[in-house]
Symmetry: C2
Amino acid sequence: MTAYNAPLQDMRFTLNHVVGLPQVATLPGFDVVTPDLADQVLDEAAKLARDVLAPLNRVGDQEGAKLDNGVVRTASGFKDAYWKYAEGGWNAVPFDPEYGGQGLPWTLALPIQEMWASSNMSFSLCPMLNQGAVELLQAHGSDQQKKLYLEKLISGEWTGTMNLTEPQAGSDVGAVRTKAVPQDDGTWLITGQKIFITYGEHDFTDNIIHLVLARTPTAPPGVKGISLFVVPKFMVNEDGSLGQRNDLRCAGLEHKMGIHASPTAVMAYGDNGGAIGYLVGQENRGIEYMFTMMNNARLGVGLQGVSIAERAYQQAVDYAKGRVQSRALTGKDPAPVAIIKHPDVRRMLMTMKSQIEAARALVYFTAAALDNGHTNPDEGARKAAAALNDLLTPVTKAWCTDLGVELSSLGVQIHGGMGFIEETGAAQHYRDARIAPIYEGTNGIQANDLAFRKVLRDGGEAAFTLIKDMRAVAAEAAAQPGDDLATMAANLTDAIDAVETASKWLLDTGKADMTAVAAGAVNYLRMFGVAIGGYLTAKAMIAANNLLREPGADTSFLEGKIITGRFYADQILPSVRGLLKIVTDGHRSVMGLSDDQF
Amino acid sequence: MTAYNAPLQDMRFTLNHVVGLPQVATLPGFDVVTPDLADQVLDEAAKLARDVLAPLNRVGDQEGAKLDNGVVRTASGFKDAYWKYAEGGWNAVPFDPEYGGQGLPWTLALPIQEMWASSNMSFSLCPMLNQGAVELLQAHGSDQQKKLYLEKLISGEWTGTMNLTEPQAGSDVGAVRTKAVPQDDGTWLITGQKIFITYGEHDFTDNIIHLVLARTPTAPPGVKGISLFVVPKFMVNEDGSLGQRNDLRCAGLEHKMGIHASPTAVMAYGDNGGAIGYLVGQENRGIEYMFTMMNNARLGVGLQGVSIAERAYQQAVDYAKGRVQSRALTGKDPAPVAIIKHPDVRRMLMTMKSQIEAARALVYFTAAALDNGHTNPDEGARKAAAALNDLLTPVTKAWCTDLGVELSSLGVQIHGGMGFIEETGAAQHYRDARIAPIYEGTNGIQANDLAFRKVLRDGGEAAFTLIKDMRAVAAEAAAQPGDDLATMAANLTDAIDAVETASKWLLDTGKADMTAVAAGAVNYLRMFGVAIGGYLTAKAMIAANNLLREPGADTSFLEGKIITGRFYADQILPSVRGLLKIVTDGHRSVMGLSDDQF
């Protein structure tokens, strides 16, 4: 088992000097976010993550969640941890103060969420799914629904789940078959089976509020015929007390490669006639409502990529400092040295560190766009931020989760043979990380979302606006003294040029040859991700350079930031140019084989 | 559980038309390798792999090997499978006929080995490690040792193991501390602990012959003071019958992320005074002897990357053809289609297929160089082949095993949520594959081997010889009709140019700045691997183009080969150019941070 210490210094630096938390704190409703409060909240979250959640990560992996006669037992210590978390008020961070939420901006909520997922990804999924349910009810629930459910979902007294997937309806949510039949009393009877329901059943709380997609008898086919229902595990009386058990049950838990402590349930609704459900909003608008929380959920999953990579990185650094093996490459001393002294181990650690910091900045940056997109009082700024958030969300989800897999794999590699042994813990991160590129919309779906909905649909407006901002930062970097900034400026400019060329190709090609665009979409998204990561890294380098001139500056940290950024410029950014040819020229052979030639 | 069917058509095509099995069959001693025999051997191996080994792959993953009171029980069915394998003569394929071997070339042995590792990687490790022991004894054992052990290790009646690693001696074999003290009767008493001993204990056979690295009392420090010993589990009488149990035991089995059915043992030698061992060859030459089998072992591990990727690919194809989800991207039909119709799924499958075929060709090509390097009667050709084999071995080991991880990860991704569920089987490949970049010398060590020993040491002679051959094939491709070959010629030439530039940089830089070379070595190896893969793919495309003109040609297969090669040219080769800048320009920031800045 390994320790986890939240990278508070990098988090604060990124929030304050790269993505603009101080600006977010000026938005209406966020004036509570003083620097002191932000510091204090991050410190307290870091303690809970370090002392309570992190020590349970391996226990959870080993024990998993167990289904016994319809009851799910979570791993040892998880229920206690949940209540420490809920009683600390952590469940309420980003929600509406009217229902007990703390009303903090996403820009601050995401760093906190990062700590939960780093310290214990399996645990963090329960609040994360609950968050989706809260957002939906905040936005679309009736007053009565809000009154009955919202306060308890925000306090953590109950938890909420999202029930979308069915065996035949994974990526294609429109294929949902679960039925909802109206009753005379205004309720609906829900029957059907849902799969992959995260924390669909557990022992943390007395009640679980399921949000379920289903079809009403008169619904049109496809995504336009899906409605959203609240289906509580136990019926809730008008006074909020629990009534009888509803007709739903956990019919099984999946045996997964990772996130063992997170119960992934098969949910059976209506074995005995139908589970009682309550329509949310209007009929047939379920998918539209779902998109209310989809962007945030995708941002949260992107964050998991950062979180798991950070945990894997901390463990790899720890191992590389302690493991003594082989003499140094240069010099005459035959004594073996810690492997962190070996250039290739160093390269792997820098590959992790530089990309984790860039990806972290992207998540927080997207969160700042989300906050501004919701509440910036200037209409132009608000719309621009919303468009930026829309553009960035699929990039964040896919790029960061791909990095989660790649970097946790490097974490294993740094451990050598010990990385393959489960007791070490590196392997768990590699296993846990693998789900994130899949759920909440596979990364292939994110790439299509970026290419077709976020770039083609607006004629590239949001993309070219961002590219313009990126060029401004590259120019600013070029104006700074020093070789590190100059290299960043040059390599960032080359990457931006490549992204711009690819984006123009996409706009030229998209309408006539959708297949070519779809075949290149994943690599196009990757180009975008790496380039934006470079843009934010350049911002960080500039900020560090400026801060270094201030008295009392933490030179070790700030110089480290610049060197780490230089590595990103040296070793990560050049891949963008390498992908350009693949995106624009590489599609011709993709569909060339017939099915039976595979 | 998924089926495995050996890709016999691609194997035969690659052997006969890309890497030159017909030429290998003309070498002394290999005249038995007629086309008919090769066909028959491959067919029979494919049956055993499909019918016996593949069905046990998941059983092995679930049950694992168990240690109970010093005795290791392998998973259900494994012992029976071992005896089917041994009684079929498969253990004897590449070995000396004088001791019961079949004397087949490595060029034919490797495709067979590929089937074992594809069908059941955990199982295949037992014969693979045994192979190392046999090679060592063939080359360095005394007549008496050969007589006592070799025949039974070749027949499979006993198995052999390799005992190198100790807790403090992983990559740094020179740090071995196990002791060997001479006795008056000419034997040695061995005491010490070895870890990560593959099949160090099992229930397949009555005896296990351990080859153990240890230090004698007078040994100098480091790699020059290590000797090699034969240490049988049960003493062997002169007539070959078993005597008393030796003083060694399995002290534990590791809990690994994958290859669960392969028992990875902690071996304790000499708990009760010392295990009796017999010196192989001369004192202090153990490491030198070890290199006899190291090249082959590394080639075998590289092959595992191909094997596991092939198995993951077959499963992904199967799933992509059967899973119906979402309508087609183009056209008006709203009905959902099999996901193999979706461009991004297709891209992932092509990414797997094109690189698996290239990597397979590289393994077989290296095997052909190995055979020629051993037995080509023309001295110049023999030396050139040996140099080529030396050059290719680290590339094959590292590139193919990295691909094993990357492509099995794509295999999971193609499955969507089902890929993360253990019952599907895709996850096992992803877990199993992760060990191959680590053992038999980490891929970082392979990269240093390539850069320092295989390129710098001979002033780039072997590398530039290969580059010249590659250019000839690029020119030949350019002279062929058709856009596919023209694209391959152009992109291959660009990749070769990049490899040549990087190699020249390496030669210019290496003596003065070893750190720069070591920091770029992994990416340099990757460039080499991808480019050689392109070279062999171009060869395959040319051969397919030529064969298409013959009457009765299998046009579906041959045209598929060309399209797959085109994809490699389109989407894989361009990454070589992208890595060039990273190798030659990217090293400056690698060592920039102090240890405490991580």
